[in-house]
Amino acid sequence: MNFDRIKEKLNILADAAKYDVSCSSSGSKRKNKNKGLGNSDGMGICHSYTPDGRCVSLLKILLTNHCIFDCAYCVTRKSNDIKRAAFKVQEVVDLTINFYRRNYIEGLFLSSGIFKSPDYTMERLIRVAKKLRLEENFNGYIHLKSIPGASDELMHEAGLYADRLSINIEIPTKEGLKLLAPDKERKDFLQPMKKVRNDIVKYQSEKKHFKNSPIFAPAGQSTQMIVGATKETDAEVMYTATYLYKKYNMKRVYYSGYIPISYDNRLPPIGTEVPMLRENRLYQADWLLRFYGFKVEELLHKNHPNLDSDIDPKLSWALRNLHIFPIDVNRADKQLLARVPGLGMKSVYKILHARKYRKLGWEHLEKMGMALNRAKYFMTCASRTFESKDYTPQQIKQRILSEGNSKYQTTLSNQLNLFG
């Protein structure tokens, strides 16, 4: 291996791949077959963290950053004057295997600029995955990018080797897409998504009847939306996300604050701050939809098109719905407990278990490690003292905000923990 040459390619092609925020290696179950190399057991491992605090769990690179398209928001776009490079199939295989054997990574996330044609590109990506699986007996995690416009046949083949397939719709609205990615149409994203969804469903039902039927993209599909590149509202972003979750059984939708990379006047200028707080709020909302039983209409609607920036979406919802509170910690059901601001699902389960043994008061909740500074306004317990429920929403908000000065820091890190 020519290490200097590889190093140069790696620099270019890792740098170009980093704007895809997904680095998840979880959700797949692939056993180590025939004493081969590697496995994925459902829990992704972060083997390192970048200085910006993101999990490093996969070797995330482009096969090449040559591209025939010119999407305005992308560093790889044709019109951008940058160094271009391309890996050979075998080089990616060797890098993956050698990094994996040293326990640097959980696997590979391979994406690519579109060279020649979507199918030509997709076929190359598949070749890497196929080689890893069949020649190297590699059972670690493989995430392949579905190339917009790739044919159904290739998408099917990709799913036979990859754990996850993703296709980034990037721009949440149709109009935005037309403006910024004139080469692409929505159907170029949606057709591969649909094919993959259908095949996943098909293989899963076969698996039920035949134990030995092959697995197909066991970690499902994901997608990413850039926020802050166009003028979209949070409601538009989250309604699109909800649609994708429902219609295409997305495992994850990622939200990536736009990082200004160009002087194109259709986009925020270079130097504009990355909307990290907004990104964080969107993840919180996403979490509430997927794990806390919230409906998107409860969080965002016509009269409330954007999430609050100063408080998290659950607190915001609770303050708009004070008539539901306070709830009784010793009696409320799981769904209701999950709606108390400041109580995470872990705390909810702890409460459900502990209250089988005794009636819970504040002191028990505190001993169980719960932070009550927010929750106390929304619940009662076996203790006599409780916060007066006569506060107005505005008063509660003021009190909570004045208590926590670095709330943003803590919520941000929670969110990143959840990335996994």
């Binding site: 290490f3 190399l37 590697g38 007996n137 278990h353």
Partner: protein, 256 residues
């Protein structure tokens, strides 16, 4: 008066001591490992000999009365090596035998909460080691890694690494406790090596030629994948506390 049961520091030894606590019906009992024991004038001392049969009976009791979760809490708690570990474990076992059912989730009981917290720490350390172990390939084709974890988590790592790296020779060595696990393509085994001086003095003679190249490639990758516009140092150090940096060649590349 307090009765002190001194054991040899092993898990079998500890369980044997628990057996004797029950046998003596010692209500005010304390279990101490040999290496931490300073004899006290005011206590009655009992030297406990490790006894597999006795240990097994206690362990079976735990499994019969409780659930696998209770057993796991106890074993992992033991690996913490914390100064109050024996006290917490004995209290837990007593509560378990009194309750005659699993108590693993009864978080409002302080000793149980404490053990559950200890377990969280152990779990975190295990997870960190699974993440931060960095193998370096030796000239004899062994993927070799040294660690010095805060707790004695090496026994908990065996399963993960054996499943994952089934087709390569590997060894993970705990330098602070001076033992390791070596996998010979068939099964993992505990080993003792005379290694610190060898490893530190002449690594070129130990590690394969391309080893440093791969470390450099990885460091390169790590740097390229950072997004400067999103820098968040504080969060970074929260994820990887500085004391773990020594494991990570991407942060601290050993120049041989």
């Amino acid at each position: 008066m307090q009765t002190v049961f001194v054991y040899d520091g092993s898990f079998i030894g500890f369980l044997s001591a628990v057996f004797e606590v029950y046998e003596y019906r010692a209500t005010n009992a304390k279990i101490v490992a040999e290496q931490n024991y300073a004899s006290s004038f005011f206590a009655e001392n009992n030297e406990v000999t490790s006894n597999v049969a006795k240990a097994k009976r206690v362990w079976k009791g735990v499994l019969n009365v409780g659930e696998s979760q209770d057993a796991r809490l106890i074993y992992r708690g033991f690996l913490s090596e914390l100064p109050d570990m024996e006290k917490v474990l004995l209290a837990y076992i007593r509560l378990l035998f009194d309750a005659r059912k699993s108590i693993a989730k009864n978080f409002s009981e302080p000793e149980i909460m404490r053990l559950s917290q200890i377990n969280k720490k152990i779990g975190r350390e295990k997870h960190r080691m699974e993440a931060f172990v960095r193998f370096r390939k030796t000239k004899d084709q062994i993927y070799f890694s040294t660690i010095s974890p805060d707790f004695n988590v090496l026994p908990l790592l065996e399963k993960h690494f054996t499943k994952r790296y089934a087709d390569q020779l590997w060894c993970i060595y705990d330098v602070s406790r001076n033992y390791g696990i070596y996998y010979d393509l068939k099964k993992p085994e505990m080993v003792h090596l005379d290694l610190p001086t060898q490893i530190l003095n002449s690594p070129e003679s130990i590690f394969s030629e391309e080893e440093l190249d791969y470390q450099k490639l990885w460091k390169n990758y790590f740097e390229s994948t950072n997004i400067a516009a999103r820098a968040n140092r504080k969060l970074h150090e929260q994820h990887v506390p500085k004391r773990y940096w020594k494991y990570l060649s991407e942060k601290y590349l050993l120049e041989w």
